[in-house]
């Protein structure tokens, strides 16, 4: 580290990062970062592209799992504390992490639900006025300018009044008045005991806005100096310097031997142990609680879980009503498919109705894929998935919310398509057993489909991969649904009716539980 070390902050540190290491593949991104930020302290993190700034931010936010080392927020270990600790962090990224098809007000209301805030309207109004977006609150985010989106992203980050704020290039896209507003906001938040870490490529802002400047180089903190001790020229010199005059402590740590590097992924090399900064748990708790004056819902457990499930599902429905991207496509594709089947088969022969079960289930499978592809795809594309994952919400609630909205979309499509099948094939479809078979079958389908949609959301060519992964796995469901529907429509009192229903129910139940259990694994390092 650079010669003039900074004095330890008087307040107990809210952010403690110790020996943090992270690799992508075999490429080391963070090579043993140590950082401590106290309440009321603003730290600017500088570094060239690829230095590891965003990875460090994501690790502190709990979005990226470190290979080694530890992050403690308010005294609690990020890995051990679980999703509740996310309540104490607010993040602004260079991506807006907002829902483009919701308006500003709806975005903040949705995230207020995710953070269990009670009666949030007053705070939302205050925040929207603070960031000068109150007059535009009913406008869709996609109609906002870049600066407005960034201001709304800042409002979202501080909505739940977190004691820890991570701002990854928050000044990107802001004009000078907006940047000034952001500076004032940072000062105001620091004055009320928040710990703020922000990254920027703007040296002047780094010095003016922060108490301390950290320079990240090759995945380790190379320089850590008080902002008041540095001039712009000195900071530039330090920034461009390849090697500091003396090896720093951080660099000594980062220059691990080849043997060490090889061992990083070995099972014996997972945990670096805990950090003892010399503060008691009570002190940490006092700081954290004092910094969160917003009202949170008191009820937890199952009620809070289902409230979030409902919030995710209703947000999807609201988004769909605005964009009409999924339902419209599914319905039109479904009707077209039925019409094509109608043209393909000779409907004058009495046996024509035998194809009806096949038509229904094939249409269900193919229209469903269209909807499922958008389930997580659009969230990942616009970055809103990241903000959802940063909220103190169990991954299972996100999964259930997505299943609920996906199931609803499939049923709306079916209710539009089935009358067309009825008219073209002249078959009485609306029978209780047929509807029950479709109800159970579509549930099993959406459960597995939602899991696979989440799996493929981050992969290349997800549009083509999802059906390839999904359709073979759906065969038992397809076989059972097809046989059941066929037997009922034929009026056959089939002894296997119970067996088919059992397969449909078992499929939905078994894969529902399995998907719920493994869903967390998908997003653990997103």
């Amino acid at each position: 580290m650079d010669g003039s070390a900074v004095e330890v902050a008087a307040a107990p540190p809210l952010i403690v990062v110790s020996d943090l290491r992270k690799r992508y593949g075999r490429r080391p991104i963070l090579r043993g970062v140590d950082l401590s930020i106290g309440a009321g302290q603003v730290v600017a993190l500088l570094g060239a592209n690829g230095a590891g700034k965003t990875t460090l931010m994501r690790s502190i936010a709990g979005l990226s799992k470190p290979d080694r080392g530890e992050v403690r927020l308010g005294g609690a270990g990020l890995q051990s504390a679980g999703h509740e600790l996310r309540r104490y962090v607010g993040v602004v990224s260079h991506a807006p992490l907002l829902y483009e098809s919701l308006n500003g007000l709806e975005n903040l209301r949705f995230f207020a639900k995710m953070y269990d805030m009670q009666g949030p309207d007053e705070r939302i109004e205050a925040l929207l006025r603070e960031v000068d977006l109150w007059p535009r609150r009913h406008d869709l985010v996609r109609t906002y300018s870049r600066g407005m989106v960034q201001r709304l992203a800042i409002a979202r980050a501080i909505l739940h009044d977190p004691p820890v704020l991570l701002l990854d290039e928050p000044d990107t896209g802001l004009d000078e008045p907006s940047a000034q507003m952001l500076h004032e906001l940072i000062q105001h938040l620091a004055a009320s005991d928040r710990a703020i870490l922000f990254t920027t490529h703007h040296f002047g802002r780094a010095l003016a806005w922060s108490d301390e400047v950290c320079l990240l180089r090759d995945g380790a903190i190379a320089v850590q100096r008080s902002a008041s001790e540095l001039t712009l020229a000195e900071l530039r010199t330090l920034y461009v310097a390849k090697e500091p005059s003396e090896p720093t402590a951080a660099e000594n740590k980062s220059s691990v031997s080849a043997a060490d590097e090889t061992d990083i992924f070995s099972p014996d090399h997972v945990d670096a142990g805990t950090v003892d900064a010399g503060y008691t748990d009570d002190e940490y708790e006092n700081v954290a609680l004092a910094a969160v004056p917003v009202r949170m819902a008191t009820e937890g457990g199952v009620a809070a879980f289902w409230r979030k499930v409902w919030a995710v599902a209703s947000k999807d429905v609201r988004t769909e009503l605005r964009t009409k991207e999924v339902l419209g496509t599914m319905a039109v594709f479904g009707v077209l498919a039925v019409l094509i089947f109608g043209l393909a088969f000779d409907l004058r022969v009495p046996q024509a109705t035998m194809v009806v079960p096949g038509v229904i289930w094939v249409v269900l499978l193919f229209t469903g894929v269209l909807g499922l592809n958008r389930s997580f795809g659009s969230e990942v594309d616009q970055g809103s998935m990241t903000s959802l994952l940063m909220a103190p919400v169990q991954r299972g609630a996100i999964f259930c919310g997505k299943v609920l909205s996906g199931w609803l979309f499939i049923w709306v499509t079916l209710l539009l398509v089935l009358p067309v099948v009825l008219v073209i094939f002249d078959t009485s479809l609306f029978q209780p057993w047929v509807l029950l078979a479709l109800l159970l079958g579509s549930f099993g389908y959406v459960v597995v489909g939602t899991l696979f949609a989440a799996l493929t959301a981050n992969s290349r060519a997800r549009e083509t991969l999802l059906p390839i992964l999904l359709l073979p796995v759906l065969v038992p469901l397809f076989v059972a649904g097809l046989s059941l529907t066929g037997n009922v429509l034929d009026g056959r009192a089939d002894s296997n009716l119970g067996s088919w229903f059992s397969i449909l129910a078992a499929y939905g139940l078994f894969f529902g539980l399995l998907s719920f259990a493994v869903f967390d694994l998908i997003w653990e390092d997103s």
């Binding site: 075999r26 076989v479 399995l514």
Partner: protein, 249 residues
């Protein structure tokens, strides 16, 4: 380097597990030779069949051997995927991938050998019999696994997502198998039960048939083990090369 030094370093490289692997590979080659000999020459023909059908019946040893090896491979992929999700050791992920690739090869073996047998027996290479369909879908599920892996760039993410898919994929198979069994099938059941509607089955397994079948099952299991270990080593080397490349650039 002189040839004696080269031989010495080769032998040193083979040492330890290398010798065990060499022994496994040699045993596998020998066992597969015995399987072919026993299937074609040693096993007595099925007495209730005649002509081309009787000769085609001999493929049954290869067919069942492939089925046994494929089952082992997919079971191994299940174990590998669970072990990876628990330990996060990439060796388990490599074991899953190697097993799936082996399983696909043996799955293709089941389908091809079945089609060759079906031509003289059922007078067609392929029919949408539930058993045949099930086997084909199983292979397709695992082909999808390989395609899926190919679509993910991050190594750890590829391993994690691949393991989740392999887990779900394997658990689908019993359900697929069960749902297909409810349908009537013309596929003969030789092992564990019978099928009155089967076409082309043979009555009972005689002494030489039983011995040949045992040798075939052992031989194919050895073949799968040898292939899996070699592929696992190759995948390990691929990762090492990738790591070196990343360090260089």
């Amino acid at each position: 380097m002189s040839s004696s030094t080269a031989n010495q370093s080769l032998l040193a490289g083979i040492g330890g597990w290398g010798w065990a692997q060499l022994l496994l590979n040699a045993t596998t080659v020998l066992a597969m030779g015995v399987v072919i000999w026993a299937s074609l020459l040693y096993a007595k023909p099925a007495t209730n069949l005649a002509g081309a059908e009787q000769f085609a019946q001999r493929i049954f040893y290869i067919h069942l051997g492939c089925a046994f090896a494929a089952l082992g491979a997919f079971l191994m992929s299940l174990i590998g995927s669970i072990a990876y999700l628990i330990t996060r050791n990439l060796d388990w992920d490599r074991a899953t991938q190697a097993s799936v690739e082996g399983g696909i090869i043996f799955g293709a073996g089941i389908t091809i050998s079945g089609a060759i047998w079906a031509r003289p027996t059922w007078n067609t290479y392929w029919t949408w019999d539930p058993r045949l369909t099930t086997a084909l879908i199983t292979v397709l599920i695992y082909v999808a696994y390989l395609l899926f892996r190919n679509g993910i760039d991050n190594r750890e993410q590829r391993a994690r997502f691949g393991s989740i898919y392999a887990l779900v994929a394997f658990l689908t198979i019993p359900l697929t198998y069960e749902s297909a069994r409810i349908f009537r099938s013309i596929h003969p059941i030789i092992w564990d039960g019978s099928n009155s509607e089967a076409e082309g089955g043979f009555e009972g397994i005689g002494a030489t048939m039983g011995q040949t079948l045992t040798v075939a099952l052992i031989g194919f299991c050895l073949l799968f083990s040898a292939l899996m270990i070699m592929r696992w080593q190759q995948l390990r080397l691929e990762d090492q090369v990738e790591g070196l490349r990343e360090r260089l650039y």
